[in-house]
């Protein structure tokens, strides 16, 4: 009798285990009813939290915001998407070239088609190609982002220096700063995604400005990284290191430490995305002034361009638990009010415009370059797979360590690009 009881218990455990093993719902997925789940990346956490609070007050729908670092976000969200437990609304990168980019998740059918929403007709021409796939809109652009040198203006004034506007001036400035025991540009070489920013700041002036069709030519197989002006980009990256632009042991410095150097005035600047300005300000004494300046790559100031593109964008989970609530959130984020509420805390620029938004004065240069059309999209947004960007991170570290030259580094990127 007892033997039967034990066997019955075993069978019961087996059934429970099999049900648990087969189920896709771990309870960690989307919301439902009056709740909504929203996932974003750490740099946009404060923006999402403020927007969620404003949305809750307006609609009564409770929003649960979760934020994580880029690497963790990509890993976790991909796993949740494949297992059906992803949040209702989640951060999606523009274009392609990233494991959580619009092209990748829409090709896999994991994001809802948003073409019939009002904002779709208001997407600026330059953002359409990176938010649409096959003529359908899959992500809502919320902010524009730019890459430039985040300068500590207060520290620059204290030392009697001015922001360099040509390539030669930049190298000379690096020498001056080094001689004074300071660092011109703090480089977070130990944080992989930060290694790409100087390439991205130089490439618009050296590659995409002179040859606006470069990305299309690469896609057609007519040009390669290794046989293009990208060689100049990486050579100038190394030239900056040789001129003493970066701090000692830059490859051992992480993102937070690099920003801290700028905040404290140990470094005059760091080449960053505009969202980093908010993080730098947090560590700086009150009253410290900052600005995001273009990075010159030639001695003709008029040739200088900036990398600027669609920044934060959000998609709706194709299997959202609360699709109606998710649509309402997207409507809010793309509204005049939502664009302002989201972009103010992170010193970003509304992607769809907002009459109530007060731009951060630190972004004056970026706004001017955007208005005059002297910007190019972030390079990876038009690359065909996520590996090219990852290889770029790695080869920059090899380049700065002297383990490879520009041609060799770019050949590795070409090999990754060829994988399609």
């Amino acid at each position: 009798m007892r033997y039967r009881a034990v066997v019955t218990m075993a069978i019961g455990a087996a059934v429970v285990a099999s049900v648990a093993g087969c189920s896709n719902d771990t309870g960690g997925g989307g919301g439902g009813g009056d709740t909504l789940t929203w996932a974003t990346v750490t740099s946009d956490k404060s923006a999402a939290e403020e927007a969620a609070a404003a949305f809750e007050a307006e609609t009564g729908i409770s929003v649960e915001v979760t934020a994580s670092g880029v690497d963790e976000y990509q890993t976790t969200t991909r796993t949740q998407l494949s297992s059906g437990t992803a949040p209702d609304v989640f951060f999606v990168w523009a274009g392609d070239g990233n494991p959580m980019a619009m092209q990748v998740v829409s090709d896999a059918g994991l994001v809802a088609d948003l073409s019939d929403m009002d904002f779709a007709s208001r997407i600026p021409e330059g953002f359409k190609s990176v938010s649409q796939n096959g003529g359908k809109t899959y992500t809502a652009p919320i902010s524009s982002a730019g890459i430039g040198s985040a300068f500590n203006l207060t520290a620059m004034e204290e030392n009697g220096w001015t922001i360099p506007t040509t390539w030669s001036d930049t190298l000379a400035f690096c020498g001056q700063a080094k001689a004074a025991g300071k660092t011109a540009f703090a480089l977070a070489g130990a944080t992989p995604w930060n290694t790409q920013l100087i390439s991205y700041a130089l490439a618009p002036t050296l590659v995409y400005g002179p040859d606006p069709d470069f990305a299309a030519q690469m896609s057609a197989g007519d040009v390669t990284f290794a046989d293009s002006a990208w060689v100049d980009v990486l050579d100038k990256y190394v030239a900056m290191q040789d001129a003493g632009c970066f701090q000692e042991n830059a490859l051992g410095t992480v993102y937070e430490d690099a920003l801290d150097m700028v905040a404290k005035g140990e470094a005059m600047a760091s080449v960053q995305v505009n969202a980093s300005l908010a993080a730098i300000r947090q560590g700086a004494p009150d009253g410290t002034e900052f600005t995001l300046a273009p990075v010159p790559a030639t001695d003709d100031e008029s040739q200088t361009r900036m990398a600027a593109a669609m920044g934060a964008a959000y998609g709706i989970n194709a299997k959202a638990k609360n699709p109606e609530g998710a649509k309402k959130l997207i409507e809010f984020l793309t509204s005049d009010e939502g664009q302002s509420v989201y972009n103010t805390p992170i010193a970003a620029i509304p992607a769809l415009g907002s009459s109530t938004f007060e731009p951060d004065p630190a972004l004056d240069s970026l706004l001017e370059y955007l208005e005059t059309g002297k910007t190019d999209p972030f390079m990876d947004q038009l690359w065909p797979n996520a590996k090219v960007q990852q290889v770029h991170f790695e080869v920059v570290q090899q380049l700065l360590a002297g383990d490879v030259d520009a041609k060799g580094a770019l050949s590795q990127m070409d090999a990754a690009y060829a994988e399609g």
Partner: protein
């Protein structure tokens, strides 16, 4: 010394629990012991079923993905046979990662256990603070590796405490770009792992040492054996079981090493600390090549199985000797 009588009364023999012959007869007659063993197996079934569904079956399903072309999120998975393994053989990054993984695993195995043994010998002596030392030396092993890795990342940063300490004591020439120099970073990672788990090895050695007869040790003093002779001829053979378990745990841990590498260097700079675990993670979750990542995981599993079973075979023979 008592001796058994030549003839034991039948009723005593029947009741005696110490008589194997009588037990065998009882078992044979009524199948009692055999039936008892069968009942014991029943208790394993719930856990075994749970293990089958939660661990074994998903693992087998996962292994099957190594023979497909899948990005980790698409609904379609194309069967590609052994293409991923061919790619692995021809991938110079994978070759580098395998070599580096073996180097790290063997370094950790040897140094961690040597340090653990020395610590065990130290805290097994009759010093007053030995209990406090045991706790302090074991403490790092109970902290999660990710937390310790972040801690050490800070200590190793260019302006971190280690370089500051070296400067402070006049050893500025020894300051390093600990995690930013590929030639140094790999050893810095090994150092952190050894620091964290030497105490763990120490505890296993210590438990074994405390079972060694004090009479035998005292006899060696009487015989005039020196410390090295005493260790080599008396303590070492007695420690064979703990040496086996420590070496196996270390080599398996070293081969699977991920947390510390990922947090401290992410496989960098320039791939100089890339291990098989970080490479499989990157391919699966960052490059969107999930099936290739699984293929690397399978090779890692086979490598762990071969090395640990080979090690067990050699060490268990030593135990018998």
């Amino acid at each position: 010394m008592t001796t058994l009588p030549a003839a034991v009364p039948a009723e005593l023999e029947e009741r005696s629990p110490a008589s194997p012959e009588s037990a065998r007869r009882r078992t044979g007659r009524r199948g009692g012991l055999h039936r008892g063993t069968s009942k014991l197996w029943v208790f394993i079934i719930p856990a075994a079923v749970f293990y089958l569904f939660i661990v074994l079956w998903p693992s087998i399903q996962g292994a099957g993905l190594a023979f497909t072309d899948w990005d980790g999120i698409s609904p379609t998975r194309a069967f590609v046979g052994i293409d991923n393994f061919i790619q692995l053989v021809n991938d110079p990054k994978a070759a580098g990662a395998i070599g580096r993984t073996l180097l790290i695993a063997f370094t950790i195995t040897i140094v961690q256990n040597a340090v653990g043994l020395l610590l065990a010998l130290g805290v097994n002596s009759r010093i007053k603070s030995r209990n406090l030392l045991r706790v302090l030396l074991f403490a790092p092993a109970i902290i999660t590796p990710v937390a310790t890795a972040y801690l050490w990342q800070n200590l190793f940063s260019p302006n971190g405490a280690i370089n500051a300490l070296l400067e402070g004591v006049g050893l500025g020439a020894l300051t390093q770009n600990w995690l930013g120099d590929g030639d140094v970073a790999i050893w810095a990672i090994c150092l952190v792992v050894i620091w964290q788990f030497a105490g763990y090895s120490m505890v296993i050695f210590l438990a074994n040492m405390q079972g060694i007869s004090t009479e035998v040790i005292e006899a060696s003093y009487v015989d005039g054996a020196g410390p090295f002779r005493r260790f080599w001829s008396i303590i070492r053979p007695e420690l064979a079981p703990s040496i086996t378990i420590n070496l196996m745990l270390s080599i398996i841990g070293g081969l699977k090493l991920f947390d510390q590498v990922w947090v401290m260097t992410g496989g960098g700079p320039g791939g100089s600390t890339e291990t098989m675990s970080t490479l499989l993670y990157k391919n699966a979750f960052q490059f969107g090549d999930f099936s290739y990542g699984i293929a690397i995981a399978l090779v890692l599993t086979v490598l762990v199985a071969i090395l640990s079973s080979g090690q067990y075979f050699v060490l268990s023979r030593q135990n018998k000797d």
